[in-house]
Symmetry: C2
Subunit: 468 residues, 2 copies
């Protein structure tokens, strides 16, 4: 992909730079505090913690100087909404982030407790450090610097934080649809992505969509003993294996017929970037995974596979006996938790109907199947030829002293597609995570150097958006 | 299969019959007490309960009048050994049973607590009611009746109870090998099987062997986020699905090449019984399972499939995320708990080596596989043309007023094959469970009518073994 080219290099204002350097320890301490709140949105027992994390954000926004900052109750986890209108003639930036985090199992693989943030070797470790509390904290630090140095941000700010990004994001999706007037903006900034490496900054111009589903297969009316019934009884666990092996083969091909025809073709420049892989990202991906070879559709370049190709992954299989030792039970039912990542342009609802049909066709004889659509979100493909994206590139280049590349990220931020569709404004995906941050895995971390560069980049970017 | 034919019908001695009728409530109360002890042998947290269940048995045996009864410590769970030598010129019966029970999950499907035995509609409900505490209690009741009515059993008795039948039975297997002299007997009686129905008693002349194993597949060095790595990452859960679908297809065929050639052929009479199914057992099996059709090798009669054909079942799949909600994790490793039931004559150690080889051959590219042999036991095939078996048939016919049929049971009691091999004496598999006892499943139960008939059958059988 093309790098940005500029007439002259931008600089962060000295007083902002000095303020951010001087207060870095306070920023880290803020993050530590927030990371202490186990705001796991998918686990009912953490309901109160999610709410507490929202209140923490409101207190912090109020401290910074936001005239309006409030917890917004929803039918799910609460949202945080804050507004700072400095000059109606200036543009408005809508900043989105999420304060909920993923579950932490397997807990025994964490080297330090996931909710006692720990600093080791230049990283802060803890669930949510990179995804996404650390990246919100750096935005807040940039806003605070502007508030202290200049009395307020250089443009109007609307800030929207949600508490169920990791749980489907239904509440924020409904809120955005119902309250578009509150969110009217000229640009959307989402700080929840990662860069190629600490040496090679990047801007994200594509995200995959997502569909999470459950497949439940039922056999006998109750659990059976494999002694008395083994050989004649339906075994839903085995049926799930057969079904999932049919839905996706060893070659990584997803056997959902309508899907293949609807995968978008990328531009020649992007295809060339994937094939040539000038940044040697494939090698880095292999190292991160600790494997000698990749698994899946090996006829496509790895960058294309994570950037734009759809996936079908099984994340867990429930049913039967999974404790220590053995128990020769044939369970009455078993459930597979699966997800699909979707090329931008694919509608999760439509893909769900294809998935359901393909799963029914793949069901072995003698079983009943229930398919559940847990949640979905669209992907997004962003044209880099927009002023707001170019300004982000300039800010990154100035702070990182390296021009950013344009990349697609394989993850999903459904709100990005939704805000783009509804507001019809550029969405800037400017994140500071690194590939080895272990998001969603044990020992999640965030680089303190990225944290510092991130807050300076955002501080500079806010200034660049101001109309002169 | 042939039924027994007799010259004259046997009768249980009146005084034994009267004693057993009069003390039936006490027998039920005994069973309730024993069922209160949650002696789950596979779960480390129940170590103390297993030991307590052993001590309970010793107290009971002492109360009955056994001159020798003791807990025998092993490297695993303890054994119970009791001896009552009444007359060295009389034969010795070695009675085996197990006082450990299966785990109880899924707990929420129990209508009454598994360890608070409850009587409803002529059944006693609780974990272990049928498998095997209830069946030991009825043997003890028969022995007690003889002790009270006649001062002792009519023959010499050795009683051996183990506490890890549901956990592989390693301790008892070692004890039997090491202490054959203590166990010398003329006949072995095992009361841990079930009958065709309450109306149709049966004797068991065959049991399948068993092999329990774990297959662990490893992919990346740590858990990965399906956003960043989905499409290139190994997914051990999916690899397990592919592998298990290859090891056994929808047609129920087990793809372990050496196995097919080593499945024994049954006698023509037994094949005819399987094909004709004169007792309509197939229909009952369908009803018990609550399904409209069977799954598996439909080209074989159902009775052959549960009686003698080998199986391969998956009992649980560990790895990834199985909590509420969704988590798009690609786990670093996943484990399948599987078992195989083995035709009599197959050696579990040899089958394990075939399984391991077949699993390695079925492993998709890009993964590492570890196979673990958890435990195994041989099956047994018993000739009905032995006096000890015939006498058991006579006792059953007298008490049930119906001649028993000879059946194979699909379950596994490895100690049966071991005692037969080492002692070279007949093994009598005379059990009183019913097919709908829900052994190993929620709401396990034992029919109070079977309990009563069972203790009378055993009381009569003990007398029939006495040499005149």
């Amino acid at each position: 992909m093309a790098k940005f080219s500029f007439g002259e290099t931008m600089h962060l204002d000295d007083s902002l730079n000095t303020y951010l350097d001087a207060h870095f320890d306070t920023v880290v301490e803020d993050l530590r505090q927030w990371l202490h709140i186990p705001s796991i949105s998918t686990l009912p027992e953490h309901l109160g913690d999610v709410a507490e994390a929202a209140r923490w954000a409101v207190r912090r926004l109020t401290d910074i100087g936001f005239p309006e900052a409030a917890v917004v109750e929803t039918s799910g986890h609460p949202l945080v909404l804050a507004k700072w209108v400095v000059d109606p003639s200036q543009p408005t930036l809508l900043i989105y982030g999420h304060y909920d985090v993923q579950p932490v199992d397997p807990l025994d693989q964490w080297l330090s407790p996931p909710f006692e943030a720990t600093i080791r070797d230049g990283y802060i470790y803890g669930r949510g450090a990179s995804d996404d509390k650390g990246q919100i904290v750096l935005v807040l630090a940039a806003l605070e610097a502007w508030a202290k140095v200049a009395g307020g941000p250089p443009i109007n700010i609307t800030l929207l934080l949600e508490g169920e990004e990791e749980a489907g994001g239904e509440a924020v999706a409904r809120f955005v649809s119902d309250h578009l007037n509150l969110l009217a903006a000229d640009t959307v900034l989402i700080c929840d992505t990662h860069m190629v490496s600490a040496q090679q900054p990047s801007l994200i111009v594509g995200l995959r969509g997502i569909l999470c589903a459950e497949l439940t297969i039922r056999g006998a009316k109750s659990d059976l003993h494999s002694g008395g019934y083994g050989g004649i009884a339906p075994n839903p666990l085995h049926a799930l294996c057969l079904l999932l092996a049919r839905l996706k083969g060893e070659d990584g091909r997803i056997n959902i017929a309508p899907l293949a025809a609807r995968i978008p073709q990328a531009e020649p420049a992007e295809r060339r970037f994937w094939q040539e892989d000038p940044l040697d990202i494939t090698k880095k991906l292999l190292e991160e995974m600790g494997v000698g070879e990749m698994v899946g559709e090996n006829e496509y370049p790895p960058l294309e596979r994570v950037g734009i190709r759809p996936t079908l992954e099984v994340h867990g299989i429930c049913g039967g006996f999974t404790g220590a030792g053995s128990k020769t039970v044939i369970p009455a039912e078993a459930t597979a938790k699966i997800s699909m990542r979707l090329s931008a342009g694919l509608d999760p609802e439509e893909v769900y109907s294809w998935l359901e049909e393909a799963a029914r066709a793949a069901l072995p004889r003698g079983y009943r199947l229930t398919v559940r659509n847990l949640h979905g979100g669209k992907g997004i493909s962003i044209s880099a030829d927009q002023a707001a994206i170019k300004a982000a590139g300039e800010a990154v280049a100035a702070i990182f002293a390296t021009r950013p590349v344009l990349m697609r990220e394989g993850g999903s931020i459904p709100i990005a597609a939704q805000l783009h569709e509804l507001l019809q404004v550029p969405v800037v995906l400017l994140g500071f995570g690194l590939p080895d941050d272990a998001v969603h895995a044990p020992n999640e971390r965030f680089s303190l150097d990225q944290l510092k560069k991130g807050m300076k980049t955002i501080a500079l970017y806010l200034g660049l958006l101001r109309q002169r």
